[in-house]
């Protein structure tokens, strides 16, 4: 099966007065067709640069990528016929209503009017935008505007959707509605490349994930396979009746406000839980989250920024 994207030694260096920043460094991996693929990483890790290059908005410095079998360097027109994108921090044209904007976008892509109306009505229902369908976009909340942007591309006939942080700024309910709509897109066998900060979102939506850090691919695979690669696959939270020194022999300890977070292996996890129950202290055991995996692999939390952030955004 041809991958939706085959990235081949993709690199990008942004040059500016007095220096340069390497936003992508020899990134090679494949994105399978017909599924949602999550690209995760901190701000400035290279997610948006990767998306902009494969979405034919930006030329790479070296390397190339095949999108739906077409070369991004020479066959961008063929790619553009088949893709749609919600860029990071994009906003809809504010003097149109929700309906006018979706119709305008679809007709701009060359869609017939009757088909435009049908797809627009479907997506409005699906994303819960019925109440604001005839309201000017300038009078919508930030979350509603974001949903309108997502609605535009979901209503399109594109085979491949690029969504750059599509739920940033949305409340939890609106996020779930967008998630459901993205899920619907892949039920139609469309490919979705999703960049996100929210690891719960990446895990909930993506069949496969890639973690970028400082422009390099750190890990790639299904959420389960990534979890399996982690050396300390369990997280144990313990109250402050334990000291960090006591826990150090069981694994890696991180401080919490009222206790400790311990990353450990299965055997040690059982031992510490039994010891905690015997002592009568509060304890909770669960598999590591993607956030924990990120912390273990990168060594820094997700909300820390990198040097390339300004260039990338």
């Amino acid at each position: 099966m041809t991958p939706a994207i085959s990235s081949q030694h993709l690199s990008k260096t942004y040059k500016f007065k007095g220096g340069s920043v390497q936003a992508l460094d020899d990134v090679s991996f494949d994105i399978p067709e017909g599924e949602t693929y999550g690209l995760i990483g901190r701000n400035g890790a290279g997610k948006t640069t990767f998306l902009r290059i494969t979405g034919t908005l930006l030329m790479p410095t070296s390397g190339t990528a095949l999108v739906l079998g077409f070369d991004i360097r020479t066959e961008e027109r063929e790619i553009r016929k088949r893709i749609a994108m919600v860029p990071q921090e994009s906003r809809p044209l504010y003097f149109a209503t929700t309906e006018q904007l979706i119709d305008g976008y679809l007709e701009m892509r060359g869609m017939e009017r009757t088909e435009t109306r049908r797809r627009r009505n479907d997506v409005i229902d699906e994303l819960g935008l019925g109440d604001v369908r005839r309201r000017l976009v300038s009078r919508l909340s930030g979350g509603q505007r974001r949903r309108v942007m997502v609605a535009m591309v979901l209503a399109s006939d594109a085979e491949f959707l690029f969504l750059d942080e599509p739920t940033t700024g949305l409340d939890p309910i609106a996020r779930r509605e967008v998630w459901a709509a993205i899920g619907h897109a892949t039920r139609d066998r469309r490919t979705v490349l999703l960049t996100t900060h929210y690891l719960d979102e990446a895990e909930a939506l993506s069949a496969h994930l890639a973690l970028l850090e400082a422009g390099r691919l750190r890990v790639e695979g299904s959420p389960e396979s990534i979890r399996a690669r982690v050396q300390l696959p369990y997280r144990v939270t313990l109250d402050s009746s334990w000291s960090a020194e006591e826990l150090a022999s069981y694994g890696t300890v991180a401080p919490l406000v009222n206790g400790h977070l311990l990353f450990t292996r299965e055997k040690e996890a059982r031992e510490i839980v039994q010891a905690a129950l015997k002592r009568g202290s509060q304890v909770a055991l669960s598999p590591v989250t993607l956030e924990d995996i990120f912390l273990q692999l990168v060594g820094r939390p997700l909300d820390e920024e990198t040097e390339a952030q300004v260039e990338e955004t």
């Binding site: 979405g55 553009r80 006018q100 007709e107 701009m108």
Partner: protein, 266 residues
């Protein structure tokens, strides 16, 4: 994209960028005609009506030229603030269709201003020797052709420049500068004879001088009451030079737009 789809795409851009904003905020139209009308008023008062025809032709040229500065700010706003251009680039819409749609939607804004100035040129004002003009077929075609060329080169220039700007504030600096160089200083609102003879060459560095030349002739040579503000009958060579410069410049700016504008970031 088929020709039919290109047309649909073009019309939807005109609708989104031209018709909808105009319908939701008609005051945009006042903004388009405010400067040309202010200049006309000043020229009319300062010349005691003698330069009315020049004020009107200047108004026509400035109105159509603002489509170039308008497209510049709209494109930068859509690209940098709304990221709408990224949405368009990552779609089947081709750059020429997008630019044509944006340029035509700016033209839609200019239409009421153009209609106003043409209407003013037809009104006979007592005491104003060059008022109440009559349009011949040749004069009308000259006027139409000149305005189309000015619109085309202003749009191509505006598009090319806009793709290099990183912030809309850069257009706040550049647009008035462009306006100054192309309409305020050159002999668009006044006769070139007002410039000292040994400095007239400088006026011919501006393409709008040639456009104004053509429009002045188109209007004044057919005026029923051709007064002191009007030209004498044009020579064939002067007319050919005017057309040649405008067509040549438009071709060069289209070439630059096609080869140098940044549709895809390097």
């Amino acid at each position: 994209m088929s020709e039919r789809n290109r047309l649909r795409s073009f019309l939807s851009i005109v609708y989104l960028n031209g018709i909808l904003p105009m319908r939701s905020q008609p005051l945009y139209l006042v903004n388009t005609i405010a400067s040309p009308l202010a200049f006309l008023f000043f020229v009319y008062v300062a010349s005691h009506g003698a330069l009315l025809a020049f004020g009107i032709t200047g108004g026509l040229i400035l109105t159509i030229l603002t489509t170039g500065t308008g497209i510049q700010s709209d494109l930068v706003h859509y690209k940098q603030d709304l990221k709408f251009q990224d949405v368009v680039v990552a779609s089947p819409v081709e750059a020429p269709v997008y630019v044509a749609g944006m340029a035509f939607s700016e033209f839609v804004y200019a239409v009421p201003g153009l209609a106003l100035f043409i209407a003013l040129s037809l009104v006979r004002i007592p005491g104003a020797p060059a008022s109440g003009m009559h349009y011949t077929l040749e004069g009308s075609l000259t006027l139409f052709g000149t305005l189309v060329l000015v619109w085309a080169f202003a749009s191509a220039l505006g598009f090319t420049i806009a793709t290099y700007f990183q912030d809309i504030r850069e257009t706040f600096v550049f647009s008035p500068l462009l306006s100054l160089i192309l309409t305020t200083v050159p002999p668009v609102y006044y006769p070139i004879q007002y410039i000292p003879a040994d400095l007239r060459w400088a006026a011919y560095l501006s393409p709008t001088t040639y456009a104004a030349d053509l429009v002045h002739r188109a209007l004044c040579t057919v005026a029923s009451s051709a007064g002191p503000s009007c030209y004498e009958a044009p020579s064939w060579s002067a007319t050919a030079l005017d057309w040649g410069v405008l067509v040549g410049l438009t071709a060069i700016l289209f070439f630059l737009a096609a080869t140098k504008a940044r549709w895809r970031e390097p």
